[in-house]
């Protein structure tokens, strides 16, 4: 009984910020003042608020770009990671373990170690503020995790599968495409979902490597909207915050356990 009580009290406490967020994201900016933040407004203006944010900072092009990054980069990373895992585990690439350590070692550096050279060299080769540039770096930071999971996954598949297919005369690439890739779809899907969320929520790389609306990832755009100098009405900022968080919140709640597993094997 006490257990439930503690959980309920804490749970209610945890919901207060969500309540405040929703109540004020739905409030028309004209009715917003510092005194009345706790009571809901009878007028529901969420859609208008999102529209105001849309016009103020070009939310539309930015969301389109972010969808592109979150969809394409994890797909590329998953494919490259699967290929690397296949070469190391199934094809028994010579020195495979060291190649794997090399790829996985890429996760050790904090992003801060990469930002300045990326910014300088992207400016040199005209990749600064381009969608291609962002897709490239996002893919690079996602590959090590994908390779890590896929290497473990392929290790669990009996080697006789590969040998039997070889005896039947299938080429190495064909075995990958027809046998290993379909078998690993669940693992690939799991990595994909985790990495989608990671890219969707990125702020730092977007801040450093882009500036125009059609390139800028969404969290960078929202932070520009939120900055004190933008002078945007608070309900508009909050509505934009809710709006851009919807895809990842839904995805996360639908696949909770996946996240817990991904987290515990991912970064370490």
């Amino acid at each position: 009984m006490i257990r439930r009580l503690v959980l309920i009290v804490l749970g209610v406490l945890w919901l207060i910020p969500i309540y405040l967020l929703l109540v004020n994201a739905f409030r028309p900016p004209a009715n917003y003042d510092g005194e009345q933040i706790w009571t809901p407004d009878p007028e529901l203006a969420f859609v208008d608020n999102v529209r105001a944010a849309w016009d103020a900072v070009g939310l539309g092009p930015s969301i389109a770009a972010t969808f592109l990054y979150s969809a394409v980069s994890p797909a590329l990373a998953v494919l490259l990671g699967a290929l690397a895992g296949y070469a190391i585990v199934v094809l028994r690439l010579r020195g495979g373990f060291w190649w794997f350590m090399f790829i996985f070692g890429g996760t050790v550096f904090p992003l801060q170690m990469l930002l300045i050279p990326l910014f300088v060299s992207y400016s040199e080769v005209m990749l600064y503020d381009t969608r291609t540039g962002l897709i490239l770096i996002y893919t690079a930071i996602l590959v090590p995790f994908a390779a890590f999971v896929m290497r473990n996954f392929f290790t669990g598949i009996a080697r006789s599968v590969f040998e039997a297919a070889r005896v039947d005369g299938a080429s190495v690439l064909r075995i990958f495409l027809r046998l290993y890739l379909p078998m690993s779809l669940p693992a690939l899907g799991a990595i994909y979902i985790l990495e989608f969320t990671l890219i969707w929520n990125d702020l730092l790389l977007g801040l450093t490597l882009s500036q125009s609306d059609p390139v800028r990832p969404i969290m960078t755009t929202v932070s520009a909207l939120n900055s004190a100098y933008a002078g945007t009405a608070i309900p508009v900022v909050l509505a934009a915050g809710v709006f851009v968080s919807l895809p990842t919140v839904v995805l996360f709640l639908a696949t909770q356990r996946l996240f817990a597993r991904g987290l515990s094997l991912g970064q370490f």
Binding site: I37, V143, L207, V222, S223, L238, V244, T248
Partner: protein, 278 residues
């Protein structure tokens, strides 16, 4: 194989080495980099903003780890095995899916001077109803850690739930039969069984909090007057606001060394402690 290696080499390793190189140079992006030896690091030692930044970063690492991990463990243990446990955990999970920027948007609003947080303190008759939390140091760092806690508890609870489900049930059953329950059961049976997982969760959290950037940048931009800066923000400011790339690289190196040393030291201590037990 080759594409993965090339991509990682070109976009992760090469920049890393380049930053290492720049840390010992003066570079503004226009004139060629000039070798200055340890000057950047000597300058850091004299920079009062850096000391504040290191202090705040350590506050983040300690506060942002201890509180969310402890609360996450509490919620996992309390909700484990009771009917409707998933529903009790839901409020804690909702915030986790938010990005750092989204979190900053919500809490910037709650914590603003005269905002919801001040209201709550006033109703409860607690001190601090008039405090301008985001404008005073070190309160600004503390309240941002509180916001981070709000976000992070759910995922820690989730990790501990998975842990609770995978530990052997026999010792717990046996202890129950012997009459252990509540705190004693947790302290002597569950906690030691969860220890390996706790090590991982704390380690993950330390590495992540040392690199805190998003929430601070979006909430305060490290201000006012650089008082809430953390190392990641200092690095960004030196490099991309002041355009002192060499100096920014030096901060990035300090951050890397601190993060590396902390995680290495922590893991080594934990591993040797566990070997001592065995």
């Amino acid at each position: 194989m080759a594409p993965a290696v090339l991509l990682v080499a070109a976009l992760l390793y090469a920049p890393f080495l380049w930053t290492l190189y720049l840390g010992f140079h003066e570079y503004d992006g226009l004139r060629p980099a000039e070798f200055v030896g340890l000057d950047n690091f000597i300058r850091l030692l004299d920079d009062p903003a850096l000391l504040t930044s290191i202090r705040n970063t350590l506050m983040w690492a300690v506060g942002g780890t201890v509180v969310p991990v402890a609360l996450g463990l509490l919620i996992a243990v309390l909700s484990y095995g009771i009917r409707g446990g998933t529903w009790y955990r839901l409020p804690f999970l909702l915030p986790y899916a938010l990005s750092g920027a989204g979190l900053a948007v919500i809490w910037g609003f709650i914590l603003q001077s005269g905002g919801a947080f001040n209201d709550v303190l006033e109703w409860l008759g607690l001190p601090g109803a008039d405090t301008r939390f985001l404008l005073e140091s070190p309160q600004n760092t503390l309240v941002m850690i509180m916001a981070f806690t709000w976000q992070q508890v759910g995922v820690n609870a989730l990790l501990f739930m998975v842990g609770l489900q995978s530990i052997p049930q026999e010792p717990i059953e046996a202890a129950r039969l012997d009459g252990a329950s509540g705190w004693r059961l947790f302290r002597h049976i569950t906690w030691p069984l969860l220890a390996p997982l706790t090590t991982v969760v704390v380690g993950l959290s330390l590495v992540a909090t040392l690199k805190t950037f998003d929430i601070v940048w979006v909430t305060t931009q490290g201000g006012p007057g650089r008082s809430s800066e953390v190392l990641a923000v200092t690095m960004y400011r030196n490099a991309f606001v002041s355009h002192e790339y060499g100096y920014g690289s030096a901060v990035a190196l300090v951050l890397t060394v601190v993060a590396g040393a902390v995680s290495f030291g922590y893991l080594r201590r934990q591993l040797s402690a566990r070997r001592g037990l065995a």
